[in-house]
């Protein structure tokens, strides 16, 4: 059980799917890097050591369990071997090149080789990382991005709108299909600068949850609001909430029907209210009343939807949103329980809704992510959802990955010898 991801196994078997290779770049930053996070490397070495011991044990007599484990480990061990080899070659070539006594012919050869060997190392780093990192069981799903203004009045609401456009720009540029599932601002348009009260953006592409889940949290803005006459800088915030999205295509009927699943909702526990004219109805009245409200009674979770003139459409959207919200709550609860169970949790920062994750500072034209510690300076490009945002998001994903690995190690270390 040592290579299992940190989220429950049954979910994994239910949701894990092989990732198409072109999406792998979203999984970690290792794709462009020659190095492997130290925590990961340490873990790979431990596994390699265990692998060696098991191999020796196997020569003494056959043991099915050991054989099975050996199989599980061999991919990691091979990836580590490749990486060590590539690393060594790069080191050798570099020292040859730097050595003044190297003869010119050899020097030319070595310089020629270095490029190819470097690329090889980058690839090896990537395969080593991906062989080790627990993939979030919902990473492959499309997702819902909910944006709401936090503290700071209408300036917060304006910033919430800015964030929405930032993510929309990001989606357009990266070919993620996105649609506004819900959009409520004060006068119902999408003009820039109009205060936003709530937006739900559905990103209907494979792996969207894996890409966006690290965006969840409180995003803080520091700037002089357009409405500020004295030129003072204000600090306000907007919150971003990311949920895996549950559409028929991302999730089989089974998951919705299966009471064990996070997505299961007993219809009897949901109160449906439709807005309609009170009184006689029918031919007597002709107002357009299409709003729908769903309430999950046990948790008192409500979702209301009124964007569309079609009531069935509003109902459908409301169900999608309710299902996603409940599933998220259930998952968070389970993860919390798991964290509590770990005996020594070192540096596991849970990214909840309450945590400030990033600051956008207009005066200094910078964006700082407080988790990865990354600061970038092209604020405009970030706000347009440009490459600079990619950079920030990637830094968080790789931070998150390291945290996941640390948590995994912390969880396993004390029990390593106790477990069978």
């Amino acid at each position: 059980m040592k290579v299992t991801p940190w989220v429950c196994r049954s979910c994994l078997s239910r949701f894990a799917r092989p990732l198409p290779s072109h999406h792998i770049r979203f999984q970690s930053t290792a794709s462009t890097s020659e190095s492997v996070p130290p925590a990961l490397l340490a873990r790979a070495r431990t596994i390699a050591f265990e692998h060696k011991q098991l191999t020796e044990k196997l020569t003494d007599g056959f043991d099915t369990r050991a054989a099975k484990k050996l199989g599980e480990y061999s991919a990691i061990v091979n990836a580590l071997k490749e990486w060590d080899k590539a690393k060594e070659s790069v080191a050798e070539l570099t020292s040859l090149i730097n050595d003044p006594t190297t003869d010119p012919e050899l020097l030319a050869l070595a310089s020629d080789d270095l490029g190819a060997t470097r690329t090889h190392l980058v690839n090896a780093s990537q395969s080593l990382t991906t062989s080790l990192v627990p993939i979030h069981p919902f990473a492959h799903l499309p997702c819902l991005l909910e944006i709401r203004p936090g503290a700071g009045g209408s300036e917060a609401a304006i910033f919430a709108g800015d964030l929405l456009r930032m993510y929309q720009g990001f989606c357009n540029r990266n070919d993620f299909r996105s649609t506004l599932l819900k959009y409520e601002n004060i006068n119902g348009t999408q003009e820039a600068g109009v205060p936003l009260s709530e937006a739900v953006l559905e990103i209907d592409s494979e792996n969207a949850y894996g890409v966006f889940r690290s965006e969840a949290g409180v995003h803080r803005v520091q700037r002089v609001p357009a409405t500020e006459t004295k030129g003072r800088t204000h600090t306000s915030a907007a919150s971003v909430h990311v949920l895996p999205s549950l559409q028929e295509n991302s999730l089989g009927e089974n998951d919705i029907e299966d009471p064990e699943s996070d997505y299961y909702i007993d219809p009897k526990e949901v109160k449906l209210e439709v807005m309609r004219a009170r009184g006689a109805g029918g031919q007597h009245v002709n107002t357009t009343e299409s709003a729908v409200r769903l309430t999950h009674i046990p948790t008192n979770t409500t979702v209301s939807m009124q964007d569309s003139r079609s009531q069935p459409k509003n109902k459908e959207k409301a169900w999608v949103l309710l299902r996603s919200r409940l599933a998220q709550t259930r998952r968070e609860k389970r993860e919390e329980e798991m964290v509590a169970m770990r005996r020594s949790v070192v540096g596991v920062a849970r990214m909840g809704r309450g945590d400030k994750v990033r600051t956008y500072n207009w005066n200094q034209q910078r964006v700082t992510d407080h988790r990865s510690g990354t600061t970038v300076h092209d604020l405009d490009d970030v706000m347009q959802g440009g490459h600079t945002l990619d950079k920030v998001m990637e830094s968080v994903r790789s931070w998150l990955m390291e945290k996941d690995v640390e948590a995994l190690l912390a969880e396993e270390a004390p029990t390593r010898d106790v477990k069978k």
């Binding site: 004060i186 006068n187 119902g188 348009t189 909702i265 219809p267 009897k268 949901v270 109160k271 449906l272 209210e273 439709v274 807005m275 309609r276 004219a277 009170r278 009184g279 006689a280 109805g281 029918g282 031919q283 007597h284 009245v285 002709n286 107002t287 357009t288 009343e289 299409s290 709003a291 409200r293 769903l294 009124q306 964007d307 569309s308 003139r309 079609s310 009531q311 069935p312 459409k313 169900w319």
Partner: protein, 413 residues
């Protein structure tokens, strides 16, 4: 109608200068915002279309015109939003609407959807199922039945005939059919037709007809070589009595929708109630003539539902009769269910009467019509019925903040 508080108007104005006028017909901020958003979306669409045709794309003017129409239209309360936008949703379908033809109502969509789903789920159906819709208006009922049925099942040929006395309605119904046939999700199966006819006149009445008058239903069927026998009869006929028309209808209904679609014609010696019920005897006779197995008739309220159910019972051919409320797919909450001679299904106001006989029971998923209510007539005194459900005075009828409660999000199959 009570005046709107100034504070509300001021708040609306601060949000958008176009909002305060919409508060009049909408009565609350949320609905007004929704309307303004829908109007804006409509204007965006129109101006985009104009622009691609090379015209100007000025939006402000069009939006203001639409808002003004909604508000004044020459009357104290403005024209229905739907006439301004040109469409209304009926279930999942966007149906074109026009002044002169009644705007389809969500309650009708709810019962037609429910009926269609019941029939759709039947294990055995004839290879051709024929559905007659009398008083078809925009044609919304056959179009929705077609959509809901074929979205799941395609082993049955559906044949629809929609009938209306208004040539405006027939033209619009045909237009709606063409429009849907062009949409991607339309399933090209079955036959849908519309026909001009009068369902109220008796073909044998010795009364001289004017040559431009529509033919009586039976004559029109013969003359146009349409089928004589049908399986299902659906109708949402005019059912409002003259007094209810004055007191119970919203002003935008009274002032802008055709009276022809709402109030049955009067006749010497007819009481107010009898006039409101005028279509049902004719519809029930048409059902017998066409030998239909299922009848679904929309009504104004629970009282009219009882009267119609009793008329149907009097025909002595039905194996079962029940009354549906506005949301027949929702389990009733059990609180205020009056004990009744007919089963009452769902939540909301009394909305329609369902009758079946013979194979109709199986098509509806009834257990061989065992729950029979077509037995001997048990007449209840009218006074008792009155206490069951009094139509509420619905002068300022809209309280959109109040959600009507229902239990259960999904249909219990």
């Amino acid at each position: 109608m009570p005046r709107l508080p100034t504070s509300l108007l001021r708040k609306a104005y601060a949000i958008d200068s176009l909002l305060p006028p919409l508060l009049g017909p909408c009565r609350d901020l949320n609905s007004a915002r929704n309307e303004l958003r829908w109007l804006r979306e409509h204007v965006d669409k129109v101006s985009r279309a104009r622009y691609t045709k090379g015209g100007s794309s000025a939006k402000g003017g069009l939006l203001r015109t639409l808002v003004r129409k909604r508000v004044s239209g020459g009357k104290p309360i403005g024209a229905p939003l739907q006439y301004g936008l040109g469409t209304e949703y009926f279930g999942d379908l966007e149906i074109e609407v026009r002044p002169g033809v009644l705007i389809p109502r969500p309650e009708t969509a709810a019962s037609v959807t429910h009926l269609t789903r019941l029939v759709r789920d039947a294990r055995e159906l004839p290879t051709e199922l024929r559905i007659l819709d009398l008083c078809t208006g925009t044609g919304c009922i056959p179009l929705l039945f077609h959509d809901v049925f074929y979205s799941v099942r395609s082993d049955v040929e559906l044949r629809f005939l929609g009938v209306d006395i208004s040539s405006k309605a027939i033209a619009l119904a045909n237009r709606n059919l063409q429009r849907l046939r062009r949409s991607k999700k339309y399933v090209h199966k079955g036959v849908t037709e519309f026909m001009l006819a009068d369902v109220l006149v008796n073909p044998f009445a010795d009364r001289a007809r004017r040559p431009d008058e529509p033919l009586p239903l039976k004559s029109a069927l013969n003359f146009n070589k349409k089928r004589v026998f049908w399986d299902i009869l659906v109708s949402n006929p005019p059912y409002i009595s003259p007094s209810a028309f004055r007191t119970t209808t919203a002003r935008s209904v009274r002032g802008f929708e055709p009276r022809l679609a709402l109030v049955p014609p009067g006749e010497a010696g007819r009481s107010d109630t009898e006039q409101g019920d005028a279509f049902y005897p004719m519809l029930l006779v048409a059902a017998i003539d066409a030998e239909v197995k299922i009848v679904l008739l929309e009504v104004a309220d629970l009282d009219q539902a009882y009267r119609v159910a009793r008329m149907a019972q009097g025909m002595q051919v039905y194996d079962g009769i029940e009354i549906w409320r506005d949301q027949p797919d929702q389990a009733h909450d059990g609180s205020s269910q009056p004990s009744s001679e007919f089963p009452i299904i769902g939540q909301g106001n009394g909305r329609s009467v369902l009758c079946w006989r013979g194979p109709g029971a199986l098509w509806l998923g009834k257990n061989n019509g065992e729950a029979s209510n077509a037995g001997p007539l048990v007449q209840k005194p009218y006074s008792e019925l009155d206490s069951v459900s009094k139509p509420e005075a619905v002068h300022s009828s809209l309280h959109p903040e109040s959600f009507m409660q229902m239990q259960g999000g999904r249909r219990n199959v």
